[in-house]
Amino acid sequence: MSLPVGAAGNELKAQASTEGKIELNFRRNKKQDHTALLDQAAAEFRYEDCRDEYWNPPEFSLLYGSPLWQEASDSQRVILNQLYWVAYYSQIISAEIATIFFNQTSAAGLYGMENFRGICDMLDLESSQERAHIAAFKKVAEETEEALFGERIFTYPMRGPYAETMILGHSHAIKRFWKAIQLKAFALLSSGNAFIATQYFLVRGIRTLNGKIVQHKLSQYYQQHPDKENAPIPSKISTYHFMDESHHFNSSTIISHDVVKALKPPTRFERLISNMAVRGCQRDHFHFSQIVQGIFWFDPMGFAQIERILCSSVFDMKTAEARDIMRRCFTEDNEGLQRAATIHHEALESYRAYVADIDFLSAANKDMQLMAGSDLQGYLARNRRAFRRYQGR
């Protein structure tokens, strides 16, 4: 990205710095690219080889800290730990499918201006890395569910980028239809507008920031494993993914915080789109989830999945027993819920810090006011209503 003629001294310095950041990030990402390792790990994965092991630190287990976790046997806890991996990365697959597409539409919007080739080349590498991530996650998640249940629980058949990213979000058919229209509209706008293209990366940066909060802990399981050579492959995949995503988070920040300053100030319409996108992100991250702490699912959308797990041979519960423990997990305060709330709060404060200097965001978005309205009492009230409806099915 070369410098515009006649720019003032501080602007020259800032833009040289942005060029330097892009070059460094791209060079480092190429050097450390974990695509080959991910492909190898996926090819070598056999559930039987690591079926009796934790894949993540214990606190990253499905419904960790809940009555289910407290009462589970050691072997059941291992499975809950593995299912956290399956569920978490099933969500990440959805996000990365969208990322592959919007990387390209945004790159088009930026490439339409002079001198943005460096960013586009960087995003091309990231998109190819996302495909390797998805392939590895799918292999492990689908084989695991097949081995444990003989059916899909959290995984799903491959899908396109206009599907709602949150796989267990608070949604219904009309919301999903409207979301698809919004995503198509955003793709159209961002591919023809450099400012709006940069705003995709503001949202991507926020989402990736949340990802880093959890993923660096998931990756630590392999990094601190006493026998790395024989560590479970899913934990290796967590680390490889974490390393690639460091560069993706960085590029999101560079584009949304630095490159955007090289563009004309946004018009009123462009600011509106940006603020709508950030508000949409807040809406997606409003809930806290006990099922997968760190992914902000709407837990009632996961009741059916949890019941299937509990009634499977893993827990071997009858429906009434399963629903009783679900009631205790989801409608009563417990350690797992407290932990989910703490993780949500960390994400909230992180997002506030991340967007603090983005001038064109509204005060409500800078303060993440919508997301901040989520609390324990609201969680329990919504779950109690939803659970009553669920029990009536």
């Binding site: 880093k212 460091s246 960085n250 703490t342 960390e346």
Partner: protein, 103 residues
């Protein structure tokens, strides 16, 4: 942290001097012990590539930046004396401050 394990106080200066200090085990990595809930520091990538966690080490023992960190600092904060907090471990009492915007 056991009674026998050495620990040090990590405190915050500048605009964050009101943030309570934390006692952390010797050798622990700042990015594994600190987060936005218990400190004013925001960590991003935690691998030394994004510059989100730039800090000034106002007091305390830290080793010199290695080549990778040095290369990052030359791009993200040239001639500033700043460090990447995610690359630092606790070796003594420390006082950290965040750089002001534009510095």
């Amino acid at each position: 942290m056991t009674d026998a394990q050495p620990s040090y106080l990590v405190s915050f200066g500048g605009d964050d001097s009101g943030s309570p200090p934390l006692r952390l085990p010797e050798g622990s990595k700042l990015c594994e012990e600190l987060d936005i809930n218990n400190s004013p520091l925001l960590f991003g990538c935690r691998t030394g590539i994004c510059g989100t966690c730039l800090v000034r080490v106002e007091a305390g023992e830290v080793p010199p930046a290695d080549a990778d960190e040095q290369e990052m600092l030359e791009v993200y904060a040239p001639n500033s004396g700043l460090r990447l907090a995610c690359q630092l471990s606790v070796r003594s009492d420390m006082r950290l401050s965040r750089p002001k915007a534009g510095s």
